[in-house]
Subunit: 225 residues, 2 copies
Amino acid sequence: MPKVAKKYDFAVIASDIVIFTIRKNKLNVLLIKMQKEPYRHNYWATPGGLVRPDESVDESARRNLFEKTGVKNVYLEQLYTFGEIGRDPFGRVVSVAYFALIPSDNVRLKTTKEYGNVQWFGIANLPKLAYDHKEIIATAYERLQKKLEYSNIAYSLLPKKFPLSELQKTYEIILKRKLDKRNFRKKILSLDLVKKTNATESGRSNRPAALYEFANKTAQIMSIL
Amino acid sequence: MPKVAKKYDFAVIASDIVIFTIRKNKLNVLLIKMQKEPYRHNYWATPGGLVRPDESVDESARRNLFEKTGVKNVYLEQLYTFGEIGRDPFGRVVSVAYFALIPSDNVRLKTTKEYGNVQWFGIANLPKLAYDHKEIIATAYERLQKKLEYSNIAYSLLPKKFPLSELQKTYEIILKRKLDKRNFRKKILSLDLVKKTNATESGRSNRPAALYEFANKTAQIMSIL
DNA sequence: ACAAAAGTGTTATAAGTACACCCATGG
DNA sequence: CCATGGGTGTACTTATAACACTTTTGT
Protein backbone atom coordinates (compact mmCIF):
# COMPACT_ATOMS: atom_id res chain seq x y z
CA MET A 1 0.00 0.00 0.00
CA PRO A 2 2.57 2.61 0.96
CA LYS A 3 4.76 1.77 -2.00
CA VAL A 4 2.04 2.70 -4.41
CA ALA A 5 1.43 6.02 -2.75
CA LYS A 6 5.12 6.91 -2.75
CA LYS A 7 5.73 5.72 -6.26
CA TYR A 8 3.10 7.90 -7.90
CA ASP A 9 3.01 10.65 -5.32
CA PHE A 10 -0.75 10.72 -5.60
CA ALA A 11 -3.42 9.99 -3.09
CA VAL A 12 -4.65 6.44 -3.30
CA ILE A 13 -7.75 4.97 -1.76
CA ALA A 14 -8.03 2.28 0.83
CA SER A 15 -10.96 0.83 2.69
CA ASP A 16 -10.94 -0.01 6.39
CA ILE A 17 -13.59 -2.03 8.17
CA VAL A 18 -14.61 -1.69 11.78
CA ILE A 19 -16.46 -4.88 12.53
CA PHE A 20 -18.35 -5.32 15.78
CA THR A 21 -19.81 -8.26 17.55
CA ILE A 22 -21.02 -9.03 21.05
CA ARG A 23 -18.97 -11.65 22.90
CA LYS A 24 -19.16 -12.54 26.57
CA ASN A 25 -21.39 -9.57 27.31
CA LYS A 26 -18.93 -7.13 25.79
CA LEU A 27 -18.84 -5.20 22.58
CA ASN A 28 -15.85 -6.40 20.52
CA VAL A 29 -13.91 -5.10 17.54
CA LEU A 30 -11.88 -7.24 15.19
CA LEU A 31 -8.25 -6.19 14.72
CA ILE A 32 -5.18 -7.43 12.89
CA LYS A 33 -1.68 -7.27 14.26
CA MET A 34 0.65 -5.01 12.29
CA GLN A 35 3.93 -6.39 10.96
CA LYS A 36 5.57 -3.33 9.46
CA GLU A 37 7.54 -0.54 10.98
CA PRO A 38 6.87 1.80 12.65
CA TYR A 39 3.95 -0.26 13.88
CA ARG A 40 5.65 -3.59 14.39
CA HIS A 41 5.76 -3.38 18.14
CA ASN A 42 2.29 -4.47 19.23
CA TYR A 43 0.26 -2.16 17.09
CA TRP A 44 -3.02 -3.36 15.69
CA ALA A 45 -5.26 -2.14 12.89
CA THR A 46 -8.72 -2.66 11.49
CA PRO A 47 -8.81 -4.96 8.46
CA GLY A 48 -8.53 -3.09 5.17
CA GLY A 49 -6.41 -2.47 2.13
CA LEU A 50 -6.06 -0.65 -1.14
CA VAL A 51 -8.99 -0.27 -3.46
CA ARG A 52 -8.26 -1.99 -6.76
CA PRO A 53 -9.00 -0.30 -10.05
CA ASP A 54 -11.50 -2.98 -11.03
CA GLU A 55 -13.67 -2.96 -7.91
CA SER A 56 -15.97 -0.46 -6.29
CA VAL A 57 -15.07 0.86 -2.88
CA ASP A 58 -17.88 -1.19 -1.33
CA GLU A 59 -16.59 -4.33 -2.98
CA SER A 60 -13.11 -3.54 -1.77
CA ALA A 61 -14.34 -3.38 1.79
CA ARG A 62 -16.05 -6.76 1.54
CA ARG A 63 -13.05 -8.34 -0.17
CA ASN A 64 -10.51 -7.00 2.29
CA LEU A 65 -12.59 -8.07 5.24
CA PHE A 66 -12.91 -11.57 3.86
CA GLU A 67 -9.32 -11.97 2.67
CA LYS A 68 -7.78 -10.72 5.87
CA THR A 69 -10.11 -12.23 8.43
CA GLY A 70 -12.27 -14.88 6.74
CA VAL A 71 -15.40 -13.02 7.77
CA LYS A 72 -18.22 -12.73 5.23
CA ASN A 73 -21.97 -12.20 4.97
CA VAL A 74 -22.04 -9.25 7.26
CA TYR A 75 -24.05 -6.10 7.55
CA LEU A 76 -21.82 -3.46 6.00
CA GLU A 77 -22.32 0.25 5.51
CA GLN A 78 -20.08 3.14 4.68
CA LEU A 79 -19.06 5.11 7.74
CA TYR A 80 -16.88 8.07 6.90
CA THR A 81 -13.89 8.94 4.76
CA PHE A 82 -10.68 9.84 6.54
CA GLY A 83 -8.56 12.12 4.42
CA GLU A 84 -6.09 13.99 6.59
CA ILE A 85 -2.64 14.37 5.13
CA GLY A 86 -0.51 12.75 7.79
CA ARG A 87 -2.73 9.81 8.62
CA ASP A 88 -0.51 7.22 6.92
CA PRO A 89 3.25 7.53 7.46
CA PHE A 90 3.96 5.66 4.21
CA GLY A 91 2.22 7.99 1.84
CA ARG A 92 -0.95 9.73 0.89
CA VAL A 93 -3.70 7.25 1.56
CA VAL A 94 -7.29 8.28 1.98
CA SER A 95 -9.38 5.68 3.72
CA VAL A 96 -13.05 5.02 3.26
CA ALA A 97 -14.07 3.47 6.55
CA TYR A 98 -16.89 0.97 6.84
CA PHE A 99 -18.93 -0.19 9.72
CA ALA A 100 -19.86 -3.87 9.97
CA LEU A 101 -21.86 -6.08 12.33
CA ILE A 102 -21.94 -9.82 12.75
CA PRO A 103 -23.64 -12.17 15.19
CA SER A 104 -21.15 -13.75 17.54
CA ASP A 105 -22.32 -17.27 16.69
CA ASN A 106 -21.27 -16.73 13.11
CA VAL A 107 -17.62 -15.95 13.33
CA ARG A 108 -14.79 -17.90 11.86
CA LEU A 109 -11.44 -16.19 11.83
CA LYS A 110 -8.44 -16.63 9.61
CA THR A 111 -4.78 -15.97 10.05
CA THR A 112 -2.63 -14.79 7.18
CA LYS A 113 1.11 -14.68 7.09
CA GLU A 114 0.99 -11.09 5.94
CA TYR A 115 -0.78 -9.92 9.04
CA GLY A 116 0.20 -12.37 11.69
CA ASN A 117 -2.97 -12.72 13.61
CA VAL A 118 -6.50 -11.58 13.90
CA GLN A 119 -8.22 -11.09 17.19
CA TRP A 120 -11.32 -9.69 18.90
CA PHE A 121 -10.81 -6.92 21.45
CA GLY A 122 -13.29 -5.48 23.91
CA ILE A 123 -14.07 -1.89 23.03
CA ALA A 124 -12.94 -0.87 26.49
CA ASN A 125 -9.61 -2.72 26.15
CA LEU A 126 -8.25 -1.77 22.78
CA PRO A 127 -4.53 -2.22 22.15
CA LYS A 128 -2.29 0.42 20.56
CA LEU A 129 -3.72 1.27 17.17
CA ALA A 130 -1.93 2.11 13.94
CA TYR A 131 -2.68 5.11 11.73
CA ASP A 132 -5.80 7.01 12.82
CA HIS A 133 -7.64 3.81 13.60
CA LYS A 134 -8.42 4.88 17.12
CA GLU A 135 -10.42 7.75 15.72
CA ILE A 136 -12.03 5.51 13.10
CA ILE A 137 -13.16 3.04 15.73
CA ALA A 138 -14.50 5.85 17.91
CA THR A 139 -16.51 7.17 14.98
CA ALA A 140 -17.86 3.70 14.24
CA TYR A 141 -18.85 3.20 17.85
CA GLU A 142 -20.79 6.47 17.87
CA ARG A 143 -22.55 5.44 14.70
CA LEU A 144 -23.44 2.08 16.18
CA GLN A 145 -24.91 3.67 19.28
CA LYS A 146 -27.01 6.14 17.34
CA LYS A 147 -28.11 3.63 14.78
CA LEU A 148 -29.34 1.17 17.40
CA GLU A 149 -31.70 3.88 18.58
CA TYR A 150 -33.25 4.77 15.25
CA SER A 151 -33.03 1.61 13.16
CA ASN A 152 -33.47 -2.13 13.30
CA ILE A 153 -29.82 -3.04 12.65
CA ALA A 154 -29.66 -5.04 15.86
CA TYR A 155 -30.86 -7.90 13.68
CA SER A 156 -27.33 -8.27 12.39
CA LEU A 157 -25.86 -8.75 15.86
CA LEU A 158 -28.16 -11.51 17.07
CA PRO A 159 -28.54 -15.14 16.06
CA LYS A 160 -31.63 -16.21 14.11
CA LYS A 161 -33.61 -16.99 17.24
CA PHE A 162 -33.10 -15.36 20.56
CA PRO A 163 -34.93 -14.49 23.76
CA LEU A 164 -36.04 -10.89 24.16
CA SER A 165 -33.74 -10.52 27.12
CA GLU A 166 -30.78 -11.09 24.82
CA LEU A 167 -31.93 -8.31 22.53
CA GLN A 168 -32.28 -6.05 25.54
CA LYS A 169 -28.83 -7.03 26.77
CA THR A 170 -27.38 -6.16 23.37
CA TYR A 171 -28.88 -2.69 23.65
CA GLU A 172 -27.67 -2.26 27.20
CA ILE A 173 -24.11 -3.30 26.40
CA ILE A 174 -23.80 -1.01 23.43
CA LEU A 175 -25.59 1.97 24.90
CA LYS A 176 -23.94 1.50 28.29
CA ARG A 177 -27.15 2.01 30.21
CA LYS A 178 -29.86 -0.08 31.81
CA LEU A 179 -33.24 -0.29 30.14
CA ASP A 180 -36.56 -1.02 31.76
CA LYS A 181 -37.61 -4.56 30.86
CA ARG A 182 -41.33 -3.88 30.54
CA ASN A 183 -40.97 -0.70 28.55
CA PHE A 184 -38.40 -2.27 26.29
CA ARG A 185 -40.56 -5.28 25.48
CA LYS A 186 -43.62 -3.13 25.01
CA LYS A 187 -41.80 -0.95 22.49
CA ILE A 188 -40.15 -3.76 20.57
CA LEU A 189 -43.38 -5.69 20.31
CA SER A 190 -45.50 -2.69 19.38
CA LEU A 191 -43.13 -1.94 16.49
CA ASP A 192 -43.48 -5.52 15.22
CA LEU A 193 -39.72 -5.61 15.11
CA VAL A 194 -39.73 -9.27 16.12
CA LYS A 195 -42.13 -12.15 16.10
CA LYS A 196 -42.42 -15.09 18.40
CA THR A 197 -41.34 -18.49 17.17
CA ASN A 198 -42.71 -21.62 18.79
CA ALA A 199 -39.29 -22.58 20.08
CA THR A 200 -38.19 -21.93 23.62
CA GLU A 201 -34.85 -21.85 25.30
CA SER A 202 -34.23 -24.68 27.69
CA GLY A 203 -31.61 -26.23 29.94
CA ARG A 204 -31.26 -23.40 32.38
CA SER A 205 -32.55 -23.42 35.88
CA ASN A 206 -35.30 -20.92 35.35
CA ARG A 207 -38.43 -20.43 33.39
CA PRO A 208 -37.67 -21.05 29.70
CA ALA A 209 -37.69 -17.97 27.52
CA ALA A 210 -39.74 -17.75 24.35
CA LEU A 211 -37.49 -17.35 21.32
CA TYR A 212 -38.12 -14.57 18.85
CA GLU A 213 -36.85 -13.79 15.38
CA PHE A 214 -36.65 -10.49 13.51
CA ALA A 215 -39.67 -9.83 11.34
CA ASN A 216 -37.55 -8.07 8.75
CA LYS A 217 -33.86 -8.55 8.21
CA THR A 218 -33.32 -5.56 5.96
CA ALA A 219 -32.15 -2.25 7.33
CA GLN A 220 -35.01 0.06 8.23
CA ILE A 221 -35.28 3.41 9.91
CA MET A 222 -37.55 3.39 12.96
CA SER A 223 -37.44 5.08 16.31
CA ILE A 224 -36.68 2.41 18.88
CA LEU A 225 -35.54 4.31 21.94
CA MET B 1 -8.83 14.87 -13.78
CA PRO B 2 -9.37 12.03 -16.23
CA LYS B 3 -5.85 12.27 -17.59
CA VAL B 4 -4.38 11.53 -14.21
CA ALA B 5 -6.60 8.54 -13.70
CA LYS B 6 -5.78 7.08 -17.09
CA LYS B 7 -2.09 7.75 -16.79
CA TYR B 8 -1.57 5.80 -13.63
CA ASP B 9 -4.45 3.38 -13.99
CA PHE B 10 -5.15 3.79 -10.30
CA ALA B 11 -8.10 5.19 -8.50
CA VAL B 12 -7.69 8.85 -7.66
CA ILE B 13 -9.73 10.93 -5.30
CA ALA B 14 -11.86 13.92 -6.04
CA SER B 15 -14.18 16.02 -3.91
CA ASP B 16 -17.57 17.27 -5.04
CA ILE B 17 -19.63 19.85 -3.23
CA VAL B 18 -23.39 20.12 -3.19
CA ILE B 19 -24.10 23.62 -2.01
CA PHE B 20 -27.60 24.72 -1.14
CA THR B 21 -29.21 28.05 -0.58
CA ILE B 22 -32.75 29.40 -0.47
CA ARG B 23 -33.59 31.87 -3.24
CA LYS B 24 -37.03 33.19 -4.17
CA ASN B 25 -38.76 30.72 -1.88
CA LYS B 26 -37.08 27.76 -3.52
CA LEU B 27 -34.24 25.49 -2.50
CA ASN B 28 -31.36 25.96 -4.95
CA VAL B 29 -28.20 24.04 -5.84
CA LEU B 30 -25.11 25.55 -7.40
CA LEU B 31 -23.90 23.89 -10.61
CA ILE B 32 -21.19 24.42 -13.18
CA LYS B 33 -21.63 23.89 -16.87
CA MET B 34 -19.52 21.07 -18.31
CA GLN B 35 -17.21 21.77 -21.23
CA LYS B 36 -15.80 18.35 -22.04
CA GLU B 37 -17.18 15.46 -24.03
CA PRO B 38 -19.31 13.48 -23.56
CA TYR B 39 -20.92 16.09 -21.33
CA ARG B 40 -20.44 19.13 -23.49
CA HIS B 41 -24.04 19.38 -24.58
CA ASN B 42 -25.81 21.09 -21.70
CA TYR B 43 -24.64 18.89 -18.90
CA TRP B 44 -23.95 20.42 -15.53
CA ALA B 45 -22.02 19.25 -12.51
CA THR B 46 -21.47 20.14 -8.86
CA PRO B 47 -18.26 22.04 -8.21
CA GLY B 48 -15.32 19.80 -7.38
CA GLY B 49 -11.98 18.49 -8.50
CA LEU B 50 -9.03 16.26 -7.72
CA VAL B 51 -7.61 16.07 -4.26
CA ARG B 52 -4.01 17.25 -4.26
CA PRO B 53 -1.30 15.32 -2.45
CA ASP B 54 -0.59 18.23 -0.13
CA GLU B 55 -4.11 18.92 1.09
CA SER B 56 -6.65 17.00 3.15
CA VAL B 57 -9.88 15.95 1.53
CA ASP B 58 -11.76 18.58 3.53
CA GLU B 59 -9.36 21.29 2.38
CA SER B 60 -9.77 20.11 -1.17
CA ALA B 61 -13.53 20.57 -0.95
CA ARG B 62 -13.18 24.12 0.35
CA ARG B 63 -10.55 24.99 -2.21
CA ASN B 64 -12.47 23.59 -5.15
CA LEU B 65 -15.64 25.30 -4.10
CA PHE B 66 -13.86 28.62 -3.83
CA GLU B 67 -11.77 28.33 -6.97
CA LYS B 68 -14.61 27.24 -9.17
CA THR B 69 -17.41 29.39 -7.82
CA GLY B 70 -15.95 32.12 -5.62
CA VAL B 71 -18.01 30.89 -2.69
CA LYS B 72 -16.36 30.76 0.72
CA ASN B 73 -17.14 30.79 4.45
CA VAL B 74 -19.82 28.16 4.24
CA TYR B 75 -21.07 25.41 6.45
CA LEU B 76 -19.42 22.29 5.05
CA GLU B 77 -19.64 18.67 6.09
CA GLN B 78 -18.74 15.39 4.52
CA LEU B 79 -21.70 13.67 2.94
CA TYR B 80 -20.80 10.32 1.41
CA THR B 81 -18.12 8.75 -0.75
CA PHE B 82 -19.15 7.59 -4.19
CA GLY B 83 -16.95 4.78 -5.37
CA GLU B 84 -18.69 2.82 -8.12
CA ILE B 85 -16.47 1.73 -10.95
CA GLY B 86 -18.23 3.31 -13.91
CA ARG B 87 -19.12 6.64 -12.36
CA ASP B 88 -16.54 8.63 -14.30
CA PRO B 89 -16.15 7.81 -18.01
CA PHE B 90 -12.58 9.15 -18.02
CA GLY B 91 -11.10 6.88 -15.42
CA ARG B 92 -11.25 5.54 -11.95
CA VAL B 93 -12.22 8.47 -9.80
CA VAL B 94 -13.69 8.06 -6.36
CA SER B 95 -15.49 11.14 -5.16
CA VAL B 96 -15.88 12.29 -1.60
CA ALA B 97 -19.05 14.35 -1.70
CA TYR B 98 -19.66 17.28 0.62
CA PHE B 99 -22.74 19.07 1.66
CA ALA B 100 -22.68 22.86 2.05
CA LEU B 101 -25.08 25.61 3.06
CA ILE B 102 -24.94 29.34 2.58
CA PRO B 103 -27.35 32.21 3.26
CA SER B 104 -28.70 33.64 0.04
CA ASP B 105 -27.66 37.17 0.96
CA ASN B 106 -24.05 36.05 1.01
CA VAL B 107 -23.44 34.75 -2.44
CA ARG B 108 -21.01 36.04 -4.97
CA LEU B 109 -20.40 33.83 -7.95
CA LYS B 110 -17.44 33.56 -10.26
CA THR B 111 -17.03 32.39 -13.81
CA THR B 112 -13.93 30.54 -14.91
CA LYS B 113 -12.90 29.83 -18.44
CA GLU B 114 -12.40 26.18 -17.60
CA TYR B 115 -15.99 25.67 -16.60
CA GLY B 116 -17.90 28.28 -18.55
CA ASN B 117 -20.48 29.33 -16.10
CA VAL B 118 -21.85 28.81 -12.69
CA GLN B 119 -25.51 28.99 -11.88
CA TRP B 120 -28.14 28.31 -9.23
CA PHE B 121 -30.87 25.80 -10.08
CA GLY B 122 -34.08 25.06 -8.23
CA ILE B 123 -33.97 21.57 -6.80
CA ALA B 124 -37.15 20.79 -8.72
CA ASN B 125 -35.70 22.03 -12.01
CA LEU B 126 -32.29 20.52 -12.28
CA PRO B 127 -30.66 20.29 -15.71
CA LYS B 128 -29.01 17.17 -17.11
CA LEU B 129 -26.25 16.16 -14.73
CA ALA B 130 -22.82 14.71 -15.46
CA TYR B 131 -21.37 11.59 -13.79
CA ASP B 132 -23.50 10.35 -10.89
CA HIS B 133 -24.21 13.87 -9.71
CA LYS B 134 -27.95 13.35 -9.81
CA GLU B 135 -27.56 10.68 -7.15
CA ILE B 136 -25.11 12.81 -5.18
CA ILE B 137 -27.54 15.71 -5.10
CA ALA B 138 -30.40 13.43 -4.08
CA THR B 139 -28.29 12.09 -1.21
CA ALA B 140 -27.41 15.62 -0.14
CA TYR B 141 -31.03 16.70 -0.22
CA GLU B 142 -32.05 13.79 2.01
CA ARG B 143 -29.30 14.70 4.44
CA LEU B 144 -30.43 18.31 4.48
CA GLN B 145 -34.01 17.34 5.23
CA LYS B 146 -33.07 15.02 8.05
CA LYS B 147 -30.53 17.36 9.51
CA LEU B 148 -32.95 20.26 9.69
CA GLU B 149 -35.09 18.12 11.96
CA TYR B 150 -32.44 17.10 14.44
CA SER B 151 -29.90 19.91 14.41
CA ASN B 152 -29.58 23.68 14.35
CA ILE B 153 -27.89 23.92 10.94
CA ALA B 154 -30.61 26.22 9.67
CA TYR B 155 -28.39 28.96 11.07
CA SER B 156 -26.21 28.63 8.01
CA LEU B 157 -29.08 29.28 5.60
CA LEU B 158 -30.40 32.48 7.14
CA PRO B 159 -28.97 35.99 7.35
CA LYS B 160 -27.75 37.31 10.69
CA LYS B 161 -31.12 38.75 11.63
CA PHE B 162 -34.42 37.43 10.43
CA PRO B 163 -38.06 37.24 11.42
CA LEU B 164 -39.27 33.92 12.81
CA SER B 165 -41.58 33.54 9.84
CA GLU B 166 -38.55 33.36 7.58
CA LEU B 167 -37.08 30.55 9.63
CA GLN B 168 -40.38 28.75 9.42
CA LYS B 169 -40.55 29.32 5.66
CA THR B 170 -37.05 27.84 5.32
CA TYR B 171 -38.22 24.71 7.08
CA GLU B 172 -41.37 24.51 5.00
CA ILE B 173 -39.54 24.88 1.71
CA ILE B 174 -36.96 22.24 2.48
CA LEU B 175 -39.28 19.76 4.15
CA LYS B 176 -42.03 20.36 1.61
CA ARG B 177 -44.76 20.58 4.19
CA LYS B 178 -46.67 23.24 6.11
CA LEU B 179 -45.89 23.76 9.77
CA ASP B 180 -48.17 25.18 12.41
CA LYS B 181 -47.06 28.70 13.24
CA ARG B 182 -47.81 28.57 16.95
CA ASN B 183 -46.30 25.17 17.55
CA PHE B 184 -43.23 26.06 15.51
CA ARG B 185 -42.56 29.26 17.45
CA LYS B 186 -43.19 27.59 20.76
CA LYS B 187 -40.66 24.88 19.96
CA ILE B 188 -37.98 27.16 18.57
CA LEU B 189 -38.25 29.55 21.48
CA SER B 190 -38.36 26.83 24.12
CA LEU B 191 -35.11 25.39 22.73
CA ASP B 192 -33.45 28.81 22.97
CA LEU B 193 -32.37 28.30 19.40
CA VAL B 194 -32.78 32.01 18.70
CA LYS B 195 -32.96 35.22 20.67
CA LYS B 196 -34.78 38.41 19.94
CA THR B 197 -32.81 41.44 18.83
CA ASN B 198 -34.23 44.89 19.31
CA ALA B 199 -34.46 45.43 15.58
CA THR B 200 -37.67 45.01 13.64
CA GLU B 201 -38.44 44.57 10.00
CA SER B 202 -40.10 47.55 8.39
CA GLY B 203 -41.33 48.86 5.07
CA ARG B 204 -44.02 46.33 4.39
CA SER B 205 -47.71 46.98 4.65
CA ASN B 206 -48.26 44.91 7.72
CA ARG B 207 -47.29 44.66 11.30
CA PRO B 208 -43.48 44.76 11.56
CA ALA B 209 -41.87 41.51 12.61
CA ALA B 210 -39.39 41.25 15.44
CA LEU B 211 -35.97 40.17 14.19
CA TYR B 212 -34.19 37.26 15.79
CA GLU B 213 -30.67 35.88 15.61
CA PHE B 214 -29.31 32.43 16.33
CA ALA B 215 -28.10 31.98 19.89
CA ASN B 216 -25.35 29.63 18.77
CA LYS B 217 -23.83 29.44 15.34
CA THR B 218 -22.01 26.17 15.81
CA ALA B 219 -23.52 22.89 14.72
CA GLN B 220 -25.47 21.19 17.47
CA ILE B 221 -27.65 18.14 17.66
CA MET B 222 -31.13 18.86 19.00
CA SER B 223 -34.56 17.58 18.19
CA ILE B 224 -36.41 20.36 16.45
CA LEU B 225 -39.35 18.69 14.73
C1' DA C 1 -61.20 50.96 6.39
C1' DC C 2 -58.91 47.35 4.37
C1' DA C 3 -55.25 44.09 3.27
C1' DA C 4 -51.44 41.51 5.00
C1' DA C 5 -48.50 39.28 7.94
C1' DA C 6 -47.36 39.20 13.19
C1' DG C 7 -48.32 37.50 17.35
C1' DT C 8 -50.49 34.74 21.05
C1' DG C 9 -53.02 29.88 24.66
C1' DT C 10 -55.70 26.12 25.45
C1' DT C 11 -57.25 21.49 24.94
C1' DA C 12 -56.78 16.75 23.35
C1' DT C 13 -54.01 13.00 22.14
C1' DA C 14 -49.99 10.22 22.04
C1' DA C 15 -45.63 8.80 23.72
C1' DG C 16 -42.46 7.96 27.28
C1' DT C 17 -41.18 6.78 32.02
C1' DA C 18 -41.45 4.73 36.55
C1' DC C 19 -42.48 0.97 39.13
C1' DA C 20 -43.44 -4.59 41.74
C1' DC C 21 -45.11 -8.91 41.71
C1' DC C 22 -46.12 -13.77 40.09
C1' DC C 23 -44.47 -17.70 36.92
C1' DA C 24 -41.95 -21.80 35.24
C1' DT C 25 -38.10 -24.38 35.41
C1' DG C 26 -33.69 -27.02 37.24
C1' DG C 27 -31.30 -28.54 40.94
C1' DC D 1 -38.37 -25.43 48.37
C1' DC D 2 -35.19 -22.33 46.67
C1' DA D 3 -32.67 -19.66 43.21
C1' DT D 4 -32.92 -17.77 38.70
C1' DG D 5 -34.37 -15.24 34.98
C1' DG D 6 -39.16 -14.86 32.35
C1' DG D 7 -43.14 -12.52 31.89
C1' DT D 8 -46.90 -9.00 32.69
C1' DG D 9 -50.15 -3.80 33.61
C1' DT D 10 -51.16 0.64 35.41
C1' DA D 11 -50.57 5.47 36.74
C1' DC D 12 -48.00 9.60 35.87
C1' DT D 13 -45.57 12.83 33.24
C1' DT D 14 -44.08 14.97 29.12
C1' DA D 15 -44.29 15.97 24.30
C1' DT D 16 -46.85 16.60 20.17
C1' DA D 17 -50.86 18.14 17.42
C1' DA D 18 -54.91 20.69 16.39
C1' DC D 19 -57.06 24.90 16.24
C1' DA D 20 -58.87 30.95 15.65
C1' DC D 21 -58.71 35.39 16.82
C1' DT D 22 -56.50 40.08 17.83
C1' DT D 23 -52.62 43.38 16.68
C1' DT D 24 -49.91 46.53 14.01
C1' DT D 25 -48.52 48.57 10.14
C1' DG D 26 -48.81 50.71 5.05
C1' DT D 27 -51.75 52.19 1.52
